[in-house]
Amino acid sequence: MKFAPLVWANLRRKKLRTLLTILSILVAFVLYGYLSAIRVAFNQGVEFAGLDRLVVRHKVSLIQPLPESYKARMEAVDGVELVALATWFGGVYQRPTNFFAQMPVEPEPFLEMFPEYRLSPEERRAWAETRTGAIVGEKLASRFGWEIGDRIPLQASIWPNKDGSDTWEFDIVGIYEGAEKGTDTTQFFFRHDYFHESRGVGSGLVGWYWLRVADPDRSAQIAARIDGMFANSSAETKTEPENAFIQGFANQVGNVGAILTGILAAVFFTILLVAGNTMAQAVRERTAELAALKAIGFTARGVLGLVLGESLLLAATGGALGLSLAWWLISRGDPTNGALPFFFFPADDLLLGVALVLFVGLAAGILPALQAGRLAIADALRR
């Protein structure tokens, strides 16, 4: 620590250069944070899936419906605690770019299935009493400025109304909060009975089911049992844990993770060049001073340490500011203004970011530091 003033004084020698270097490192770590959040967004929160929840869907494709009659049959399966149904509504609010998920569900089993969606007792009661009632997540509500009591029209793209019109109207009776940071509060749920009675086509069919199993260790066995039950019927099923379902869904996009990693590699390569160049210049123009330090008794390792310390301090300053700025930007919301269900800076990635800061500091400084350590004093002083 007693060398800190020396390291600090050296960084202040060329203030502009130090500032520019710190800024470029800062930018790299803002990008790092932002891309981490984007990766989470693309992964759709796989890690927040309930371990005791399974998804049952049509074997051929998610868009193929399943009979409503499956519910009772699955409830009878040993180890299944709860069954909740849902359908993809796919309505449009005002214009197609205002995308958010809407699903008709049965309030009772649904809210029991997803305790992470928190609703007040009054809101629960209101939903039970209002046939056209809908509950919306707080992120979604704030995105469109909705409040309880608002009447929201949606244009059906898949499910025309029985009366031939495409417009469905819903009354917002509740705004649910997420139990955790990673809970999706961008969705819109309304009552299946209203949907069932008002849709013009597809009566008796639902999109998919969620199951809750008593013992997650028996998930595979129960999934096989259910798929076996409906094998060779006109609607065969595919049952899998919720996290596998979500992961599969995310994988449809392609290898986003690899692309983002590639981009980050390019970013860090660029920044390493910038920071490494700064350190190389710093050492080059200070040859005589470093030699003098060695002359008065600093060891090669000591000089190397001074240069590395300088480079680490540069990286730490830029990195800490960058990670903080990324964290702040991400916490202010996603770039689509609320359409992404998951957008935050994961703690693991933050830790990895700190490790990357150290890496950048060491990698940028190591060559110039070795060079400084190897300086021949007599030659360097003569210059």
Binding site: A292, A295, F298, T299, A300
Partner: protein
């Protein structure tokens, strides 16, 4: 450093440099003894090898052949790390161009060698103050090198050299970049350090006026020493 022998004992010292295909013999079988308490001026034309000799005695460079002992210790074969530690404790170096760190204040510059010791911050501050007092710069401690005159910068350099209380001071053209008045001040200071503080001083210079301040003068020419200047 103890013993009754010479403080600096140089035997059959050779130093050769390679410049392209040509080999240059800078020092060629040189012998030198410097007793404790001496104030020796080394003179010689430029390129005569006087700075090289000083560098070898200070452990900044290694001889091609021969021995260098300081205080009874062979330093010509000491490993780099130990040599650095030895320099920090036993020799003080004063350079022609001062070699102060421009980013540090006078005080911080003087403190540098003490950073290599285990002394507490308080003790370091005390010694720095003493050293600056000895060189007469107690009131300039917070100044940066660029805010000081050449003579003052050299005084800071000397303070840095004596702050660890070494027995041997090696000065390479300490007045080479100074005007007459400033030079006289520096030479007086070196003389005082020699007389009153018991420092052994070895000074390389090409200025007869500076050399005259020393107790004895040796001339270096063509890699050899003599008491008389070369004709």
């Amino acid at each position: 450093m103890s013993g009754d022998g010479p403080l600096v004992d140089v035997r059959s010292l050779e130093k050769r440099f390679q410049r392209g295909a040509e080999e240059i013999r800078v020092l060629d079988g040189l012998d030198l003894e410097v007793p404790p308490g001496d104030f020796l001026a080394l003179m010689g034309p430029s390129g005569s090898g006087k700075s090289t000799l000083l560098n070898l005695i200070g452990g900044l460079d290694r001889p091609t052949a021969g021995r260098v002992s300081v205080g009874g210790r062979r330093i010509d074969q000491m490993p780099d790390r130990r040599l650095a530690a030895w320099r920090a404790r036993h020799v003080g170096l004063v350079f022609q161009f001062y070699n102060l760190l421009p980013v540090l204040t006078a005080e911080r510059n003087v403190e540098l060698p003490l950073l290599l010791t285990r002394l507490s911050a308080k003790e370091r501050a005390r010694r720095v103050a003493t050293a600056l007092d000895v060189v007469g710069l107690a009131d300039r401690q917070g100044h940066y090198p660029r805010q000081l005159s050449g003579g003052e910068q050299q005084r800071v350099g000397i303070a840095r050299a004596i702050v660890t209380d070494p027995t041997l001071l090696l000065c390479d053209e300490p007045t080479g970049d100074l005007d007459r008045t400033a030079s006289d001040g520096i030479l007086e200071l070196l003389g005082a350090l020699n007389r009153e503080h018991g420092k052994t001083v070895l000074m390389v210079t090409h200025d007869p006026h500076a050399a005259a301040q020393a107790r004895r003068i040796l001339h270096l020419d063509k890699g050899r020493l003599s008491t008389e200047p070369a004709p």
